[in-house]
Subunit: 320 residues, 2 copies
């Protein structure tokens, strides 16, 4: 298939672009490089630098079999202080994409949604039938896009799949996580291992979990890319399917730090800080539906492997 | 207060504008007349004809204490076949309003949300904590606006209230319901009474309700306007409060038709048709929170009174 990958110079987008190329697809990456890196666009992909808002019509006019839509504003904290940036950059821009796809007859869409659409869960693991009560603007903006996709699928025959996941981690070959503002646990802990940060903060050790620290879901970025490939194959005209992607049981903050200590051989000092407002104790997705309907299962669910890949990538960047 | 009423030439918007003027407020109506009627703008209101997208900045620049936002695309059926019209006309336009309010320091917003944000209820009556799973694009677009308002209230100190209701009915003085495409039960039944339609269709009489027909919530438009006045008074900077407005128990389709027969003295032929896909048996809102926090209660909850006011308005239009 000839596929457009928006945000394909970002971490998740570039790994997906690479995986699509490995699977024999023709890939065009569209990215404005506002947060992505031109050197992350994989070999074999054609790169178009530009804003969706400006160029999507021109790009799609050449004819595509599908779009994988990763381009987004995705900093939760920023979304709370500058909501307009998220409503415009995520929702309005995605509406423009949907209209352009309709205009140019692009039949398939795989959308990078988020488990943040659910908000604080009533039950864990979180299934796709859980209520959607986003607690931040990032999650609310992605939920609005999901609803828009549902309506375009029903009205215009779009074949669409949304994938909802929490924390993506690890690296795929030479492509790993590089954020200007790092907010993710594993990269932060590895920065401590490298001596770039003094210590890692643990926000509360009195949570109702086995070791008292918060439990979160981590997916290896390669497993995630495999889910996108399967989603593309299973997308059905006129339907919008939504799948949660999770690793099953989740890992606690202490487990993550201990695994990073093992993998890196560094002491990694940690300090206990107070709980943060709005942090649920456990956020783990059920991926039962993805297993059953897409035949997906995480092949790299082992935390040590995820951390090892992240660490190798981090060190290689360090040496480069 | 000096207040802007968007959509103030429509049914609900014009009644609200009239009620605000009766309560001593200064009112400017903004309406593009795409579905509204210039002659519905009440005496005492200044009328600006225009699109929010084009003129909202200019209008708000003169300084307002608040906005009551009624302007919307609101045909459920149309929203399913032309979703772009609803994502643009409701969501994108409301984002423009929010940005303009922020730019010009307009402190208060009362938004006309809808019980359609909830979709098919798990429990009736529907409370504000019910999951929001809209089953049509109209409801989804209003839900996205509610989420956007929440984010602007938290980030920028907006004082905001959303009111969610099902079926507004009745008339306020000389202002009543006039839709180019009539989809509401009471006006349709009254059209049969007037001989403009041959019969009224009842979609299913085998529902699990007392008389087998669907039960819906009807609020007198004057009661609704009173809730908007109270919302305006109770709006608090930095908070976005959401209230359902309902009449308590709801009325069945057969009850509505029977009441219309009594009030009009016409036979009003009815025919049983199959159930419509997506129609829930009972849709009734709990307005407990509005009663407790706003001190609102419907003073005109009696169905006969609602129908009588609607009938007087309909006949007066007929004679005019």
């Amino acid at each position: 298939m000839k596929l457009l990958v928006t945000g394909g110079a970002g971490y998740v987008g570039s790994v997906n672009a690479a995986r699509l190329i490995e699977s024999g697809h023709e890939v065009v990456v569209l990215d404005d490089l506002s947060t992505g890196h031109a050197d992350a666009v994989p070999d074999g992909a054609r790169f178009v630098r530009g804003d969706i808002d400006d160029v999507i019509g021109t790009v799609l006019a050449e004819g595509f079999d599908g779009v994988l839509h990763f381009a987004a504003k995705s900093l939760v904290g920023e979304s709370m202080v500058d909501p307009a940036k998220y409503w415009q950059g995520n929702v309005v821009t995605s509406l423009r994409l949907l209209d352009a796809m309709r205009e140019h007859g692009t039949p398939r869409l795989v959308f990078s949604s988020t488990a943040a659409t659910y908000g604080e869960p009533e039950e864990v693991p979180i299934s796709e039938t859980a209520p959607t009560r986003p607690t931040n603007t990032y999650g609310a903006s992605k939920l609005a896009i999901d609803h828009a996709i549902t309506s375009y699928a029903a009205a215009h025959g779009l074949a669409a799949v949304s994938l909802r996941y929490f924390n993506v981690a690890g690296a795929h070959g030479s492509i790993g996580e590089r954020h200007a503002v790092e907010t993710h646990l594993i990269p932060l802990v590895l920065q401590v291992a490298l001596g770039q940060r003094e210590q890692i903060q643990i926000f509360g050790e009195d949570w109702p979990t086995e070791d008292g620290t918060c439990v979160r879901d981590y997916i290896h970025v390669t497993d995630l890319a495999d889910a996108h490939l399967l989603a593309l194959e299973h997308a059905t005209a006129g339907e919008h399917r939504i799948y949660n992607l999770g690793n099953g049981t989740g890992f606690s903050v202490k487990q993550v730090i201990d695994t990073c200590r093992e993998v890196t051989g560094h002491a990694i000092p940690a300090a206990i800080a107070p709980r943060r407002a709005g942090d649920p104790a456990v956020l783990v997705a059920s991926s039962e539906r993805a297993r059953t309907e897409l035949g997906w299962k995480p092949e790299r669910a082992d935390l040590t492997g995820i951390v090892r890949d992240a660490w190798e990538f981090t060190r290689s960047r360090q040496e480069a």
